[in-house]
Symmetry: C2
Subunit: 328 residues, 2 copies
């Protein structure tokens, strides 16, 4: 019996030591204090804010929240690469003047601002579908391996936040406008998040039979566009219960619905976190055109993370990025 | 340091003791032996069949696999209850002769065999949609609490199998033709499976805003019918990787595609298990009309569980069913 007590004590001691310094890249301030206060409360059985482990669900937007999205978000860079590739010199590209404009390589920022979404979608469909999920996944993995510098766009403070929540037994989902199969190719490596905890946009699929082998084919029609209100519907479809922690970013109003849903009054009112990109020295500065995200943050009392003030550093050094052992 | 060794030894010793008698309600035979051999291999790092924990994904059909589905599957009983309720004396029911036939209470078996699916779907839509996900979930929970005898339809040997796989660090999903929100209301209680590991059929949904509150409304149009090939597409959408263990049942050919997908040759060729209901004394006897499931089991070398020979008992005693502590 004594042996078990010693054992329990030793394990407790060890885990406290490991968890001693969470969020080291965060400056002391209201944002860090609010996060620590919330996570401490949900983890403490004696606290009125205690939440059972099974309900400790967290949802994170990806582009602009976990990783830099300017000048191009990850999947836009991948699209860029595919369009460049000779095998995708597709006749469909020639017929639509907007598509021609898109592939004339004027820079992605301009493409996405000036070209109708329907044309952009044609380019996505022509490059991203018509193959199996397995082949597409291999294409993405290959691309990411050949472009290891993208690892350096991951926000170090947000990775520490993922680690901190995992230590408090949260199950963390990425809820992203990017495509699920795209993100799943690197979510474990980049963020420690397994494929089944990635919820993204998706194409329609069909089962194809060749001989005795089944494969899942990607069809050129979107099944789900995972943005704004649709993020809430996808959380309900995939998780089936309300998260207690949601993190998104200021920039395109994409995360307001997801944070409102997570933080609205009810049996459990969750924690909302918005990253606002206000640091002109260390990354691009941008915000919602109409200020909707910051207005919602104020109205619903979400915690706003100011990159400039709240983060000691943004990125891994090159050396750290190459050392996979450090990266979660 | 010695303390840590003692501690590791004590924990190891304890967990071996707990796991000593898995599958106690299974008779010794080829089915049990095949299961034990597979699970032992994937858990043993020195075995060529070893599979890392993250890839230990198992998928289980529900009706007819984890729980008795004759004479009525669970959601059909719930539908029965709703149709009976005065608030659902819906004018839409009066116009369609097939719907009138359905609600004329001739018994569910006959309904599902003789009435066009479109009419059945109308009755499902009229009773199952037009409310929020939260309200629907409360309705199901209330119904299940008022009908505790359904707990006794859970197959004890299959619950032991779930426990055995969980002890070997499998993440287990229910992949069911029943509706996800319906099953999520009791999946944790019945099977120890959390809501986010339930993949089922689903209705279209929409976000509704009342004052400052958001709710998810159930619309009277199916988004996904989770049967046959669609089960594979749903596994891909929700999990994003191939399971290594799939269990289904003989009866309506609903699990053939899921098992083929799981067990086909590739990086990992998984384990397929089919329950066939051949025990005329202890439950209903039934099989596929054309023998498709058993033919596929033979062709693809799946393990067939014969209820009559392989299971010592099917159900919990009334006393056990009332004792929640026993039920996983």
């Amino acid at each position: 019996m004594l042996r078990y007590f010693l054992c329990a004590f030793a394990i407790l001691h060890l885990s406290v030591a490991i968890a001693k310094e969470p969020l080291v890249s965060w400056n002391e301030g209201t944002a860090k204090a609010a996060i620590v206060q919330f996570v401490t409360a949900v983890s403490d059985e004696k606290n009125p804010g205690f939440v059972p482990v099974a309900e400790r669900i967290a949802v994170f937007d990806m582009d602009g929240t976990l990783i830099n999205e300017k000048p191009a978000f990850l999947q836009a860079s991948f699209l860029d690469f595919l369009v460049d590739d000779a095998i995708f010199k597709n006749p469909v590209f020639e017929k639509d003047p907007d598509v021609r404009k898109l592939i004339s390589r004027q820079g992605w920022k301009e493409y996405f601002d000036t070209v109708p979404w329907a044309s952009t979608l044609k380019v996505f469909a022509a490059t991203h579908t018509g193959m199996s999920q397995t082949l597409f996944s291999a294409m993405v993995k290959d691309y990411m391996q050949n472009n290891p510098h993208y690892r350096r766009n991951i926000y170090v403070p947000m990775r520490e936040l993922l680690d901190y929540l995992r230590a408090a037994q949260f199950k963390i989902y990425i809820v992203t406008g990017s495509e699920n199969q795209f993100v799943r190719a690197f979510s474990e490596d980049y963020f420690g998040i397994p494929s089944e905890q990635v919820i993204g946009s998706s194409w329609k699929t069909a089962l194809k039979e060749e001989g005795d082998m089944l494969s899942i084919q990607r069809l050129p029609e979107m099944a789900h566009s995972n943005d704004k209100e649709n993020k809430v519907l996808a959380i309900d479809l995939h998780i089936g219960r309300k998260p207690i922690f949601a993190a998104g970013n200021d920039g395109n109003a994409g995360d307001i619905a997801m944070l409102r849903y997570t933080t609205q009054p009810g049996k459990r009112s969750g924690f909302g976190l918005i990253v606002t990109h206000d640091d002109e020295k260390r990354e691009s500065v941008y915000t919602d055109k109409n200020g909707a995200t910051l207005a919602a943050a104020q109205k619903y009392r979400w915690t706003v993370v100011h990159v400039k003030e709240d983060w000691k550093r943004l990125y891994l050094t090159a050396e750290e990025a190459n050392n996979r052992a450090l990266t979660h």
